[in-house]
């Protein structure tokens, strides 16, 4: 949306785009379409859709031929995109190459896991034994494990050396706290957190949420009493747990890293993968608080002066989300509730709701330009 809005603002660019489209350059048109689809709004929707399709159709999709075809298509897309100088510049930047590799690695590991899950699920349906059945996990530390590890270590060293030869350390400006690099990016593994900063107050995005992620991860063994899926791959037996994990990991972590790496350019603006990172491109950013939407937009009344009264609608909304949310969850997940008990279920649903708050807030930002749901700046309390 940012880009399209900028385009409207900057009539010339739009005219230029229109001209290029009208010129009938098919490739340009495709690139343009991809640029548009890479805007966060579409990107999120498409990713979630793709995840759903994947989880539903995992048995078909992970078939080797199918997977190979998808991989080939992806590779083809990537390679042909590399012909575009802007795309190539971004993906070939020394810092970004590992992320490109990570995309492939994630796809590959996902495929392995879900392929085995698909086979296991099929076998379970047929009543056949699992792949893992009868497998002996025993490994000797000496000499097998140590030896293997040594070999891996040597190979990896060689690999890193060759990598360093090919990707020279890039030129960066001298460190200067007065002149931050533009775009100023966190290390790749924190790009997801940095992306959250766009939507949430720093103490939420920088302190509370990361804390909750860690707490949540620690809590999983205590929350999850279900012995199924332990020691073997399956999706069918754990659809909720795996889907939730996949959403949190792939969409809210990996996707945001990709996002931050490839699509966030100067001034933290969105740039399509084929767009030049223009430092001077303006972006239309106009955010409104929920209290404005509620009092002025909905009720047509002046905004109350006292902050709590002013933010009451947001607080109610948020309170409702965290109170009614678990109740609704309980309604739909009676079985789970029975299994987990009240405390565990409450903790789980709170964690889940906090996680869901992220995409909800993103969508609200893109659709309603929502700044804060509760924005008590007086107390630095903003959600």
């Amino acid at each position: 949306m940012g880009r399209a809005a900028a385009g409207r603002e900057n009539g010339v660019v739009e005219a230029e785009m229109v001209e290029l489209l009208a010129a009938g350059s098919g490739i340009e048109a495709i690139k343009h379409a991809i640029n548009v689809l890479c805007e966060p709004y579409w990107f999120l929707i498409l990713s979630v859709a793709a995840l759903i399709v994947f989880l539903v159709g995992y048995r078909t999709i992970t078939k080797p031929a199918m997977a190979a075809a998808i991989a080939a298509l992806g590779l083809l897309f990537f390679l042909s995109s590399c012909l575009d100088p802007n795309f190539f510049k971004i993906v070939s930047k020394g810092d970004n190459v590992p992320i490109v590799m990570m995309m492939g690695a994630i796809a590959f590991t996902l495929w392995i896991a879900f392929r085995q899950a698909a086979i296991n699920d099929e076998r379970m349906e047929k009543g056949e034994p699992l792949i893992e059945a009868g497998a002996d996990d025993k490994v000797l530390v000496w000499p097998d494990l140590v030896y293997t590890e040594l070999i891996c270590l040597v190979l990896l060293t060689a690999f890193l050396t060759v990598w360093a030869i090919f990707l020279r350390a890039p030129l960066e400006q001298p460190a200067n706290p007065n002149v931050a690099p533009n775009p100023a990016k966190a290390p790749w593994y924190f790009l997801g957190l940095q992306e959250m900063l766009v939507y949430f107050d720093p103490w939420l995005a920088g302190v509370l949420f990361p804390g909750l992620i860690i707490v949540g991860l620690i809590a999983i063994p205590y929350l999850d009493k279900n012995p199924k899926g332990n020691g073997y791959y399956t999706l069918k037996e754990r659809p909720f747990a795996i889907s939730t994990f996949m959403f949190g990991f792939v969409i809210l972590w990996i996707m945001l890293i990709i996002f931050g790496t490839f699509l966030r350019g100067p001034n933290w603006n969105f740039f399509g993968p084929y767009e030049f990172w223009d430092h001077n491109r303006p972006a239309a950013l106009l955010n409104v608080d929920f209290h404005d939407l509620f009092w002025i937009g909905l009720l047509g009344q002046p905004v109350p002066k006292y902050c709590l009264w002013r933010e009451a609608p947001g607080i109610v909304l948020l309170g409702g989300y965290f109170v009614i949310g678990p109740l609704i969850l309980r309604m739909f997940m009676r079985k789970l509730y029975r299994q987990m008990g009240f405390v565990r279920f409450s903790v789980m649903s709170m964690l889940l709701l906090v996680m869901l708050l992220m995409p909800i807030k993103m969508v609200l930002r893109w659709t309603l330009n929502l700044h804060y749901i509760v924005g008590i700046r007086e107390w630095f309390f903003n959600i």
Binding site: G11, V12, P143, D144, T148, I151, A158, L171, Q173, P266
Partner: protein, 1427 residues
């Protein structure tokens, strides 16, 4: 540890994996090492050593050349011959001598023994005596006895010593004779050894290098030293700086700082890693060319020996004026070749040498950067230059990434797109392996990429923060771009809109104690209604260049973003809009213009245009103003004849065909290049030997060819009489014109009209009214709601009135402002409002003083640290990389500085039409293009009228734009420590820098030569003399070089404040300046500092020369003692007479720089002629003579210029009357009073002709014949008029070929007898001496008497004491030496001044034979000798 037997994995397979992995790791490790080892800089260093090796080889070839070998053979034969001679002819003599020597030696030894013994015994006896003396006193017998012993032994010692010395001398004498006898042999042997050593050394060096560089394929079977010391992992073994060792060179520069993250740290430059030979004079292009050229004969001999084809000796290029240069010795004339000729010749030489090297299997040489030395080693890099590399490094000037050794990462800046493309292929892709890297990345990431060579001067300002102190260095002009840039920045008015801290801080404090702002460059507009008419103002403001193409006023309108083509949906008719704005501005200006009364002209004074015209040419206007109406015809016709080879008639016809505008444009194009008043002599190109010299079109002040169409007579009269009456802060000085002169000048200027300047008004029709409404509404609604805006527009509740009154009340007073506004109609009020906002928007108030805007802040960006602004903050519009496609597809839009369709701007712009512009994403490109076309960064953008870029167009030339860019690039935080910074407080640099700035700002340099500038006014003071065009030194404003050594500073202060005419015969006059506080002092300090600096420079340089001479003198003395004169004389047979030692200092290599500097100074000050210094055209004797003279004269000036500041002449008691009378007599005998006047005239009316000549002094005659004016005691009187009842009969100026003028007037009146007679008055042609005692330093007067021509070349003052010897030496009337006599003169002069002695003219009665007087007054010939 037991090996477990259980294995789950296949061990063999793991072993194989392990083996494979290990091999892979080893391979990758080796690969890494190689990649790490193989750096581009190694190639450069290797090539450096290859070049050194090749040079050694060429030296060797040279040493074994046939003629050198023949010389050796000859020397050997000579040695044989001498040996033979010694054996035969001198054998007997030697034997005899040897025998005598043996005898003498024996005798000496015999005498020496007893002498030594007695000497030691005497010591003991003396000691005994001293002790007894101390213990017992002198009278004690013991003491007496001891004393007697001493005396006795002393006697014995004396005797023995005599004998010993006799024998010793004899022995030494024989030894010397023997040595003399053997001398020819020794000498011949020495010569042989010397010659052999040259060849041997060359061979050794060649071999050494061959060994060193085996790996470069120089030779196949020699130890591989270079390979070993550079082998990966082992390259640390050889110590640093071993020849052939490839290493990273690093300069640690504690005083050049870098800022890293709140921490300033020292810089380490590694540039010399690739630029290895940057400080090696051998690697300068000239020296390399010389070496290559000198080696060709040796090469060809070698090739002939091996019966191979020889290489070509390049044909010499044509010298200047078609002179032929000798084959094989072209490099001796290197300086006369043009840059291209040098390059071509160098290439040809290199090709020949490379051909040879290739034929011997050696590597070819590539002698370009990074291998060459710095092009200006005299000034930079080298150890004894002002900027030694060890202290300054490289990046302090060139910027870039100092620690990098990679071409790209060191941030080299490509000058053009083409180069950028080449580089990205060569370096970004190939070397660095980062194909996506562009220069934009470098500039984006590295704050300070390297500066293009043309902008490097921007860095000078880091240490030379005052900038003007670097205008010249030892006669060389340096820092021209930066200096011009700063000058333009201040004088065209950049500083008025854009603050720059350095300049703001340098302003003086005003009377109220606060820092003053720089003078506004535009005229004061607070009383504009009294000077100009609205219709003129409107036309002018809209398009100033139409009225006056050369004007300094920049052009705001009809530019690329507000001409007819630029209409967009927000700005439908830009021309109409801007015209309306101009109408509104003029409405505002005239409405607030305060009433002003011009100075009243006396009724009897009527302007005489013809007289005014003559006055205009002479009185000094032309130092600042030009006038094409007056000089255009002569200038342009001549220039056309010269430039295009037209005959006079055609040229005249062409001139007549030009419109006035075209004439001015022609002048701007061909007669001036910059808006700079400090003209360098080579800019003016005045050469007396040339038939044609281009005139100079000064743009310092308005060109006046159409002034009459602009102002009124009354205003002009008042302005000329007293400029500050109209504008208190104006730079225009007061020429102290009499009412008559001012009226004449004004009348003349009013005749200069240009009717082609269309004077219609932008009348307020319906469309314009609508436009006013539209614009006012736009402006109002930008800050408030539309409803409120409409209310204000309708002036509801007086809202608009209130706003306008608010704006004006502080300037006009609230009541007056209220009355003024209330009297206006609503449309006028709206127009007023629009005018005020337009003035705000365009920033008119920054350059002009306008009521209501006195306190407004500058409209432009603060440029104090501009060059440190991140590149991403500069808006390149669609020239950014993001729009590469657009740029390619819309070439017409993005390819040119000015759009192709924009004929108007292209015509006004001095850019050539086909200039394709290279816009790289750099600070420099941004600034330069903005300067050339200020609206370029709006191109293709859709903007509202008041969002558009508004910087006006100054129509800068490319050179000016680059100068300003250089200045802007210099605006950064100077990260250097104090030791590198110029000390302005305690050295002469400060006053000089300030003074230069001021003399340029006030245009003192338009009249006076203060340093090596060329005053523009001098072109009007040239006349033909013996076929040469020379400057009329006598009548032109005086040259002020060395003035600081001449004047008493108190007097100088007083003079600047109250100017009084010193040379009454001058028509051109020193104006009274409207100085700001401190400016007088700045000037006085400036001149004093100039003298001090010259003296200090000279004394430093002369000291070095003296040191050399002394050293050689003492050496020579030592030699003479040894008795070697004979050999000396023989050895230097080419010199006819024996040179005294050390006189050939100017040939010494280590004094090269100093010699150059001394020679330049001498030539510039006309102490010697440049031709006499040329070693090629002068014999050694002549050269020695010329240089000895140079030294003498420079010592003279050095002593003269060594002055104190502030200087006060110490009071000297008056001499006795007798002494004074003698002195006064001497003064007359010397003929001083033939040209000089002494004393002021007596007041009171004259009764007789005797009285008249006593009471009236003729100061000058203006005009000719009957219309001449005779100036008596400073008052002009027309010929025919009466003074004290005396009739002025005639006044004449007789101009001689020498340029001297005799000014005479004849007056008729009664003599003492009552008869009517005519007497002739002669004007003094030299200054009144009565002022000398206050004005001049005694020391200077003394020196001036001795040698006037040295102090002021071209002066009329004769040299009365040639060689310091008085013509009256030995005269009984004037006792003492010449120096005493000069002192007598000086004392008398000073006493006479103090006593106010006056010497009236002698009465000369004119009879019928007028020829007589010519003889009487014929001083011209006499002056010739001294002139």
């Amino acid at each position: 540890m037991p090996v477990p037997e259980e294995r789950l994995y296949h061990p063999e397979r793991l072993n194989k994996w392990f083996a494979l992995a290990s091999v892979l790791m080893l391979v990758s490790f080796c690969w890494m090492s190689l990649v790490d080892y193989d750096r581009p800089w190694r190639g450069y260093q290797e090539h450096y050593f290859v070049t050194k090796a090749a040079m050694a080889h060429l030296d060797y070839l040279n040493a074994i050349r046939a003629d050198h070998r023949q010389e050796l053979d000859r020397a050997k034969k000579e040695l044989e011959h001498q040996k033979e001679l010694a054996k035969t002819e001198n054998a007997g003599k030697r034997k005899e001598l040897e025998k005598k020597l043996a005898d003498a030696d024996f005798a000496f030894r015999k005498a020496n023994g007893p002498w030594s013994r007695v000497r030691q015994v005497l010591e003991v006896t003396r000691d005994t005596y001293e002790k007894t003396l101390g213990e017992y006193g002198p009278d004690h017998p013991k003491t007496k006895a001891a004393h007697a012993a001493v005396v006795a032994q002393e006697q014995e010692f004396e005797q023995l010593q005599d004998v010993k010395e006799l024998h010793e001398d004899a022995k030494k004498d024989y030894e010397r004779q023997l040595r003399d006898l053997e001398m020819p042999v020794t000498k011949a042997a020495k010569r042989v050894t010397q010659l052999e050593k040259v060849a041997d050394d060359a061979l050794k060096k060649d071999r050494a290098y061959r060994g060193l560089l085996f790996k470069n394929g120089l030779l196949k079977n020699v130890p591989i030293v270079s390979d070993v010391i550079n082998f990966p992992f082992f390259d640390f073994t050889a110590p640093k700086n071993t020849p052939g060792r490839e290493q990273i060179n690093q300069l640690v520069l504690p005083n050049v700082r870098q800022r890293l993250n709140y921490l300033e740290t020292y810089t380490t430059d590694r540039c010399t890693t690739c630029h290895v030979a940057i400080d090696d004079p051998e690697f300068s292009k000239e020296r390399l060319a010389q070496k290559l050229e000198r080696s060709l004969p040796g090469i060809n001999e070698e090739l002939q020996r091996e019966s191979k084809a020889t290489v070509a000796v390049p044909t010499p290029p044509a010298g200047p004026d078609g002179a032929t240069l000798p084959v094989g010795r072209v490099t001796d004339f290197w300086d006369v070749l043009t840059k291209t000729q040098q390059d071509d010749y160098f290439k040809a030489l290199l090709a020949s040498v490379n051909q040879y090297l290739e034929s011997t299997g050696r590597k070819q040489l590539k002698l370009g950067q990074p291998l060459l030395a710095h092009p200006d080693l005299d000034l930079y890099v080298s150890v004894d230059s002002k900027h030694p590399m060890k202290h300054m490094g490289c990046t302090v000037c060139h910027e870039g990434n100092p620690q990098e050794t990679d071409f790209v990462l060191a941030a080299h800046t490509p000058p053009t797109h083409k180069v950028e493309e080449q580089w990205s292929e060569e370096y970004y892709d190939k070397n660095l392996g980062i194909p996506t890297m562009t220069f934009a990345t470098v500039e984006h990431y590295w704050d300070h990429p390297m500066r293009l060579p043309k902008y490097t001067e921007g860095s000078c300002a880091k240490c030379h923060s005052q900038i003007t102190d670097i205008a010249r260095f030892q006669g060389q002009r340096v820092g021209q771009r930066l200096n011009l840039g700063e000058h333009l920045f201040v004088t065209v008015g950049c500083i008025d809109c854009h603050n720059v801290d350095e300049i703001a801080k340098a302003q003086p404090n005003g009377p109220d104690g606060s820092r003053m702002k720089p003078r506004r460059v535009g005229p004061d507009l607070t009383h504009v209604a009294a000077k100009l008419k609205p219709k003129w103002v409107q036309q002018w403001a809209f398009f100033p260049q139409k009225f006056r193409p050369s004007t300094r006023m920049p052009h705001f309108f009809m530019q690329e973003n507000n001409n007819a083509d630029s209409a967009n949906s927000f700005d439908t008719d830009p021309i109409m809009r801007t015209q309306t704005e101009v109408a509104a501005i003029s409405q505002y200006l005239f409405a607030v213009s305060a009433p002003w009364k011009p100075l009243a002209k006396p009724d009897d004074v009527k302007g005489d245009a013809e007289r005014g015209r003559k006055l205009f040419r002479k009185v000094g206007c032309l130092a600042c103003h030009s006038n094409i109406a007056e000089f255009g015809e002569e200038w342009i016709t001549k220039d056309l004849m010269h430039r295009e080879g037209l005959d006079e008639e055609t040229a005249g016809f062409r001139y007549k065909g030009m419109t006035p505008d075209e004439r001015v444009r022609y002048a701007m194009k061909h007669f001036s290049t910059e808006r700079d008043s400090f003209l360098e002599p080579d800019v003016v190109r005045f050469d007396p030997d040339k038939k044609y010299n281009t005139p100079v079109f000064s743009r310092f002040a308005p060109e006046l060819s159409n002034e009459g169409s602009k102002v009124t007579f009354e205003w002009l009269y008042s302005w000329l009489r007293q400029p500050t009456h109209y504008a208190p802060d104006t730079k225009m000085p007061n020429l102290r014109l009499s009412p008559g002169d001012a009226a004449d000048l004004a009348a003349y200027l009013m005749t200069l009209k240009d009717d082609s300047f269309d004077q219609h008004v932008f009348a307020m029709n319906k469309a314009r009214r609508d436009m006013v409404d539209h614009l006012v509404f736009t402006l109002l609604s930008g800050q408030r709601s539309e409803r409120r805006s409409r209310a204000i527009m309708a002036d509801e509740g007086g809202a608009l009135t209130e706003m306008l009154v608010g704006l004006l009340s502080s300037s006009l007073g609230e009541d007056h402002a209220y009355d003024l506004i209330r009297a206006m109609s609503l449309p006028d009020k709206k127009l007023m409002y629009l005018g005020s906002r337009a003035i705000t928007h365009y920033g008119c108030y920054a350059c002009h003083k306008i009521a209501g805007f006195e306190e407004a802040s500058p409209p432009g960006t603060d440029l104090s640290g501009w060059s440190e602004k991140p590149i991403a903050q500069l808006d390149f519009a669609f020239y950014d990389h993001a729009f590469d496609k657009m740029r390619k597809s819309k070439d017409d839009e993005f390819g040119y500085v000015y759009l192709k369709k924009d004929a108007q701007l292209r015509q006004l712009s001095p850019l050539p039409d086909d200039t394709r512009e290279q816009i790289t994403l750099t600070h420099a490109a941004f600034a330069k293009h903005k300067m050339m076309n200020p609206r370029i960064w709006d191109r293709e953008k859709l903007k509202r009228p008041y969002d558009k870029l508004k910087m006006p167009n100054f129509y800068f030339t490319e050179k000016e734009a680059e100068a300003l860019t250089t200045y802007l690039l210099s605006r950064s935080h100077p990260r250097v420590n104090a030791p590198l910074k110029v000390n302005y407080e305690e050295t002469t640099a400060g006053p000089i820098a300030k003074g230069r700035k001021l003399t340029r700002e006030l245009n003192c340099v338009g009249c006076h030569q203060t340093e090596d500038n060329y005053p523009v006014i001098q072109q009007y003071f040239r006349h033909k003399l013996a076929g040469r065009l020379v400057t009329d030194v006598v009548n032109a404003p005086p040259i002020l070089r060395g003035e600081g050594a001449k004047l008493q500073h108190n007097w100088f202060h007083e003079f600047l404040l109250h100017v009084q005419p010193l040379r009454p015969w001058l028509i051109v006059r020193m104006p009274t300046f409207n100085f700001r506080p401190d400016e007088k002092t700045t000037l006085v300090e400036y001149f004093a500092a100039l003298a001090q600096r010259d003296s200090a420079n000279l004394s430093g340089e002369l000291a070095k020369v003296d040191e050399y001479i002394d050293k050689h003198k003492s050496k020579d003395k030592g030699k003479t003692k040894g008795g070697d004169q004979k050999v000396e004389a023989e050895g230097d047979a080419s010199t006819s007479k024996k040179a005294s030692p050390g006189t050939e200092w100017y040939e010494q290599d280590n004094l090269r720089q100093i010699t150059g500097s001394l020679e330049r100074f001498g030539v510039e000050r006309e102490l010697v002629r440049a031709g006499d210094m040329d070693p090629l055209t002068n014999s050694p004797d002549k050269l020695r003579e010329a240089h000895a003279m140079l030294l003498d004269r420079e010592r003279f000036l050095q002593a003269l210029y060594d002055v104190d500041y502030p200087f006060v002449e110490p009071p000297t008691p008056l001499a006795s009357q007798e002494q004074f009378d003698r002195g006064f007599h001497f003064l007359q005998d010397m003929g001083c009073l033939k040209c000089h006047v002494l004393g002021d005239m007596l007041p009171g009316p004259a009764k007789t002709t005797d009285d008249f000549v006593q009471m009236y002094r003729l100061d000058g005659v203006r005009g000719e014949g009957d219309s001449a004016t005779v100036i008596l005691n400073g008052e002009p009187h027309a010929v025919g008029s009466k003074v004290d009842g005396f009739t002025i009969v005639s006044g004449t100026n007789t101009v001689y070929d020498t340029g001297d003028v005799d000014t005479q007037a004849v007056v008729e009146g009664p003599n003492a007898e009552g008869e009517t007679e005519r007497v002739m008055l002669s004007a003094a042609s030299a200054p009144n001496l009565s002022l000398a005692y206050q004005r001049l330093r005694r020391a200077w007067v003394h020196a001036w008497m001795l040698n006037p021509a040295l102090i002021q070349p071209g002066t009329k003052m004769p040299q009365n004491f040639p060689g310091g010897v008085s013509p009256y030496l030995g005269d009984p009337n004037y006792p003492g030496t010449s120096a005493d006599q000069i002192n007598l003169l000086v004392d008398t002069l000073y006493d006479a001044g103090e006593k106010n002695v006056r010497v009236p003219l002698t009465k000369i009665v004119v009879t019928a034979q007028e020829e007589e007087f010519d003889e009487d007054s014929g001083g011209a010939e006499e002056f010739d000798d001294g002139g």
